[in-house]
């Protein structure tokens, strides 16, 4: 995407919008641009003696000397003050169907102004957006967009929500929170697509200003998190519990990677945990893996595997289980768990049919959980 497309999207031009590209289509060649870094003091860190700091934003708790950056690569200690280098530095901006995040029970059929800055606080070997998530902000081109400009762009593009997505929004926490506040002032909602590596205190602050959170639960095994995510499972589970306790709309995505996290026994264990801690109504999306980044030696997930795990989750008692990244599959659609009728028919990211009335099944009047239009 060219700079002018960003500006058009942000509402700085009266020209019609160009066709929206995928996140991968937004990437710029590395190493060809001048640094465009912000210097906004970070939140949730401690000052230590000798110009050192400790970051308390995510479970890594990076302890950094002067001039060092955190694991995320986008927060830097300069003289004992910790700064966000990506506040307002948007490297990806799209108008996406909310189904692409995916959120299936949150304003279905609407568009979300979707944005990201560079950086991530984990390093998944299977990252689908690694060209922007696994780089430093100097290594991608970014456009300056203030929180107010994002809110205005959402309004101008008829987006009822802003989505913080593509990379890991936790690492641009300050920008996400301020933008969410600006968006809410215009009646626009905020949704977060995250891996859930965030500490409870900042998560509490985030929950106060956003409306829905989708957590990528990447496995139900600490070993997998250590080897393939470079993170930890436990804090992610704690984050899921907290989001649910605060009654923020929650959906879970599980990317199924052949041989690595597709064991039926582990999926059963995960489903039982979800039902116990979050409830049977939480939507669970099993997404199809495609070989990317550092995991190119594995094939795409067989659809039969996704169908098997879908059946396992339903058997365990989860009511809203979906299959993603398989356009046209019947498990992309929402069915009433009580009468079995098709309620929301989806093909790809498009909603073809909508049979809810005031949040209830049109056929049996059962309440279907979600945030509906």
């Amino acid at each position: 995407m060219k700079r002018r497309h960003f500006l058009q999207l942000a509402g700085f031009s009266c020209l019609p919008l160009s066709p929206i590209k995928s996140a991968a289509g937004l990437l710029f060649p590395l190493g060809q641009n001048q640094a465009n870094l912000s210097k906004v003091e970070a939140r949730f860190y401690e000052k230590l003696p000798d110009r050192e700091i400790k970051c308390n934003l995510c479970p890594r708790f990076c302890h950094l000397g002067d001039k060092e950056r955190g694991y995320c690569g986008v927060r830097e200690n300069d003289g004992g003050i910790y700064y966000s280098l990506v506040y307002g530095k948007v490297c990806a901006l799209n108008v996406d169907p909310i189904e692409k995040k995916p959120f299936f029970h949150f304003l279905p059929g609407t568009q979300a102004l979707s944005l990201a800055t560079a950086g991530c606080n984990v390093n998944c070997k299977f990252c689908q957006n690694w060209q922007i998530s696994q780089v430093r902000p100097e290594q991608v081109e970014a456009v300056d967009l203030s929180p107010q400009a994002v809110a205005l762009a959402a309004e101008n593009n008829s987006c009822p929500s802003v989505a913080y997505t593509y990379t890991e929004p936790v690492i641009f926490f300050e920008y996400m929170v301020d933008t969410s506040i600006a968006a809410r002032k215009k009646g626009i909602r905020n949704v977060v697509v995250t891996g859930g590596h965030i500490n409870p205190e900042p998560l509490e602050a985030l929950i106060k200003v956003v409306d829905a959170i989708k957590v990528d639960l990447k496995s139900f095994s600490e070993a997998f998190y250590k080897d393939y995510v470079r993170g930890e499972l436990k804090p992610v589970l704690e984050a899921i519990k907290l989001i649910n306790q605060r009654k923020t709309w929650l959906e879970i995505v599980y990317l199924v990677i052949p041989t690595l996290n597709d064991q039926e026994s582990m999926i059963r264990q995960m489903c039982r945990w979800l039902i116990k801690e979050v409830g049977e109504d939480v939507p669970l999306h099993f997404s199809r893996f495609h070989p990317m980044y550092l995991l190119k030696n594995l094939p795409p997930t067989p659809v039969s595997t996704l169908e098997k795990l879908h059946a396992v989750a339903r058997e365990e008692g989860l009511r809203y289980v979906y299959i993603g990244n398989v356009p046209g599959h019947k498990a992309e659609s929402t069915y009433c768990p009580f009468c079995g009728q098709l309620l929301i028919e989806r093909i790809g990211y498009k909603v073809e049919r909508f049979e809810l009335r005031n949040g209830r099944c049109r056929f049996c009047q059962a309440v279907i959980p979600g945030i509906w239009v």
Partner: protein, 298 residues
């Protein structure tokens, strides 16, 4: 990487006592280091033993610490001068690091002329990173095209420093500046990441020489500059074995810490574990008692 575990320390007492570093003396230090390292009497023969005349040589420096605590420009330029005296073509040499901004901040003047020594960062026009990540053991990174495309032989001209996470940053860790995502490799005291990075083909196949800038050594609270814990050592450390050279650098930091009454890095729980890992990967010798250490003065 080279197999000899000989390490040469060359000191020049008083070299920092003048306002400007005496370049002739600095060059004499380098010549002495290279000739002792290769057991040759002439610099031409020494250079010939390490490089071939057609080599395009990358001198990877470390400029993250700004003007106060980076590989000094005087040293990098003196090294290129000595290599040219030894028969290499200046136009086939590049002094490089991550970014032009950091190079400038450390006192380097950028040079991109075709017929001269080049000085630029990976973010310079025409350079950049590879577009596909290379996956090697626990490393998954884009490598600088300066390393992968431009150079055929690499020198790690690193500044020797204490490092809060790694224990020591020296010649091996200097190659963190050759990849796009070094922030991903500081967990667990940078172990096994430093070793595995140096064992990855783009580096292992091209690394020929380590030179540690120990003119001033930050022996505590590195890698940032803290003048109260920075000591003039007025020395350079040379090695063909990258593990051996860094091991000697570590021992120097420990001596300085002991002299100041500070706990050792081992006592602080942060010795450079990656050196043992590097040894296990066959990159060199990390046992100080098995190294041949030569100390010289100019």
């Amino acid at each position: 990487m080279a197999q000899s575990s000989k390490v040469v320390i060359v000191r020049a007492k008083g070299i920092l006592s003048t306002t400007q570093i005496d370049l002739k003396r600095l060059q004499a230090m380098i010549i002495k280091g290279l000739t002792w390292l290769t057991a040759e009497s002439k610099v031409e023969r020494a250079v010939e033993k390490i490089f071939s005349p057609s080599d395009r040589v990358g001198i990877k420096i470390n400029t993250i610490g700004g003007r106060l605590l980076s590989t000094s420009p005087e040293l990098a330029l003196s090294l290129s001068t000595v290599l040219a005296q030894g028969g290499l073509l200046e136009r086939n040499m590049v002094v490089w690091d991550r970014t032009n901004r950091e190079l400038r901040a450390a006192g380097y003047s950028l040079q991109t002329s075709r017929d001269k020594l080049k000085i630029f960062g990976t973010d310079a026009a025409g350079a950049g990173y590879e577009t596909e990540p290379l996956s090697f053991r626990n490393i998954g990174s884009l490598y600088s095209t300066i390393l992968t495309n431009f150079v055929t032989a690499s020198i790690s001209l690193a500044i020797l420093k204490d490092h809060g996470l790694a224990g020591v940053t020296a010649g091996m860790k200097n190659y963190f500046g050759a990849i796009h995502n070094p922030n991903k490799y500081h967990d667990n005291h940078c172990d096994p990441f430093v070793a595995e990075l140096c064992a990855s083909p783009p580096i292992k196949d091209k690394h020929r020489l380590t030179v540690l800038d120990a003119l001033v050594v930050q022996y505590h609270k590195g890698p940032a500059y803290h003048p109260q814990w920075a000591e003039p050592f007025e020395g350079l450390i040379f090695g063909l074995d990258p593990v051996a050279t860094d091991t000697v650098g570590w021992s120097l930091i420990e001596k300085m810490r002991a002299a100041k009454g500070l706990p050792s890095l081992k006592e602080e729980g942060r010795p450079p574990f990656y050196l043992e890992t590097a040894k296990s990967l066959g990159l060199g010798e990390s046992d100080l008692s098995r190294l041949q250490i030569i100390e010289e003065q100019v």
